[in-house]
Amino acid sequence: MATMTMALQRFDKATVIAFGLIVVLLLVGASIKPDFLSPSYLVQQLQLASFLGVIATGVMLVILLGHIDLSIPWTIGVGGMMATAAAGFFGPTVGVVLAVPFGIACGTVIGLANGVGVAYLRAPSMIFTLGMNAVAQGLMVAHTGGFAPQDRGTVFMRQLAAGRLIPGVPNPLLVWLAVGAAAVFMLTRTTLGRQIYAIGNKERAVFLSGVDTRRVLLICFAISGACAAAGGVLLAGWANRSYQAMGDPYLLPTIAAVVLGGTNILGGRGSYLGTVAGVILITLLQSILSVLQPQFWFADMGLNVPAETFRQVVFGVVIIAMLLLYGRQRAVQG
């Protein structure tokens, strides 16, 4: 039955290509590192992907609306730092219990602020979230600038990020599965999901259909903030501490993952399954690039090229190549 038919051809194609490339990457990885395809390594990749996946869920919603959230880096930071600082704010016993919810709540507040700016003040989301990112950075710097803050993760956080509730399945993966399932349900089975896609297509028509579009925007930005903060909590748990700029490396890969998963950057089109594929793809790509040691090849040729160069160039080229594969935008025509 035709439900989410949103240009079904187009993003199915993108999702298929994305999964195809995942297979290619797995094969490439296997040829370099023999145990690349071993279950333990693959599970480790999924665990890494989970951090990105949780964050990308919120970002996908905002992009579906036709907006963008550039406050991700420091919302991640806020999530991690506020979770680790909770014990310092609320005392050791209460603080430990509240750590995770507090971190996520702080991220949600940032998201709500973004939502108010974009939905009610009608500010362009790129600029408003950029401003919020700087404000969040400033607040966190102020927080750490004065005294030595609590920056150690709680035991629970460590468990959440590194433990395995179900044998063989890392906890972050469970978190991602839960978040992802909720996202899929919302997007495909609820009125809110319909409204999100519709707003990404034509907010004016949605307004005239009797929907409160501002509320939808507010909700999605809040979710984006919550997801980013949740990612920060997981990262802080994984490293067992929070640190400045912990979220900076996540902005571009998140956007890339969402777009490579077939979501249209202008909004209105995209499936969560595609985003899953995009996240796994980016994770695998980064892993392979770190496993490859290209600097030795270049050294053989007499060039001193750092490994990071190779990583950056390949990253960029792969994205462009994939997008060209997905099919181009319709040219402006009659």
Partner: protein, 337 residues
């Protein structure tokens, strides 16, 4: 007064009225900057000496040039997220080739500018002929350009011809070279571009790409040129950075910082992110507004580490000022595109 001259008089006034309305964004940016700089000068114990003006100008010019670079693709309704990386790449390249004899230095400068143009051309060609969204394309190409920057300068270092650096960073008769540089860019690049068919075409595309196509505007050429100029201006900024720091360094954080701040400067300067209206001159003042925030913090004894907080607040305020127009809306439907 005859009827004809009365009509002419009215028409001239109307013409001025329209011109002023069109410049509103720039004028607001100038006003904000003037207020901030005046406060800075007033609070500054030593007063506004030539040396202080020179330092402020050099710092601001870097962002101003990158902001001018960003302005042009934004006019077409696009965005260039690689300007910061072209800036860094140019810096690293300049620290490698802009040295030696006068001839070598000159060739080096030309080389850096060429690289900026090439990067911009690549961006433009992929956006136009690949028919991909600029934000994603330039995100990806930015990574590639940074990769090359890193290959050129794995460690910070390099050198630059001393005379060249000196000329670029000193003042002539109390006027900083960087100001002269910006004026040169405005008068030799921006204003001719604005008055050209392709430059106006950029505004047309940003205003309504469909209508521009129907009107026969050369869309492909205008868009590619926009990205080419962005690359060129970013590389000029990179040259200036090399002259100021005497070295090249491939720092990803710096590139990202300049890219994002350039967007902020463009908006504060009155250019619309939707395209179709705005000016690189406004972006210059937008950049200086953002840079002066840091100076004001120092002068008011606020921990400079809090700079991002205040820059962010300035951005939010600037953007919210735009929301004041909402108060005049009488039909809710106008809120939604």
């Amino acid at each position: 007064m005859s009827v004809a001259s009365a009509v002419n008089g009215r028409r001239s006034r109307e013409a001025w009225g329209h011109w002023l309305a069109a410049q509103r964004g720039i004028l607001i940016a100038i006003a904000i900057f003037a207020a901030m700089f005046a406060t800075y000068g007033w609070k500054q114990e030593v007063g506004l000496t030539a040396s202080i003006i020179n330092t402020a100008s050099n710092k601001g010019a870097l962002l101003a040039l990158v902001a001018m670079a960003q302005t042009i693709p934004v006019l077409t309704g696009g965005l260039d997220l690689s300007v910061g990386m072209i800036f860094v790449l140019s810096n690293c390249l300049a620290a490698t080739i802009v040295n030696g004899s006068f001839l070598m230095t000159a060739l080096g400068v030309i080389g850096v500018l060429l690289v900026g143009i090439i990067c911009g051309t690549i961006n433009g060609l992929i956006v136009v002929y690949g028919r991909l969204q600029p934000i994603i394309v330039t995100l990806a190409t930015g990574a590639v350009y940074f990769g090359f920057a890193l290959a050129l300068r794995p460690e910070p270092g390099g050198s630059v011809n001393f005379e060249f650096a000196d000329i670029m960073t000193r003042s002539f008769f109390k006027v900083p070279s960087s100001v002269i540089l910006m004026l040169a860019v405005v008068f030799l690049i921006w204003i001719p571009y604005r008055r050209s068919v392709l430059g106006r075409g950029a505004y047309a595309i940003g205003s309504s790409e469909q209508a521009a196509y129907m009107s026969g505007v050369p869309i492909a050429r205008a868009k590619v040129l926009a990205y080419v100029l962005a690359g060129l201006l970013s590389s000029i900024a990179g040259l200036l950075l090399t002259a100021i720091t005497y070295s090249g360094a491939a720092k990803a954080a710096l590139g990202a910082d300049y890219t994002l701040n350039s967007i902020g400067a463009v908006v504060i300067g009155g250019t619309s992110l939707f395209g179709g209206s705005g000016s690189a001159i406004g972006s210059i003042f937008g950049a200086f507004v953002m840079r002066t925030v840091g100076d004001l913090l120092i002068v008011f004894d606020i921990n400079p580490v809090l700079q991002p907080l205040f820059v962010g607040i300035v951005l939010l305020i600037a953007v919210s000022l735009g929301s004041l127009r909402l108060l005049r809306i009488k039909n809710r439907l106008d809120l939604y595109r």
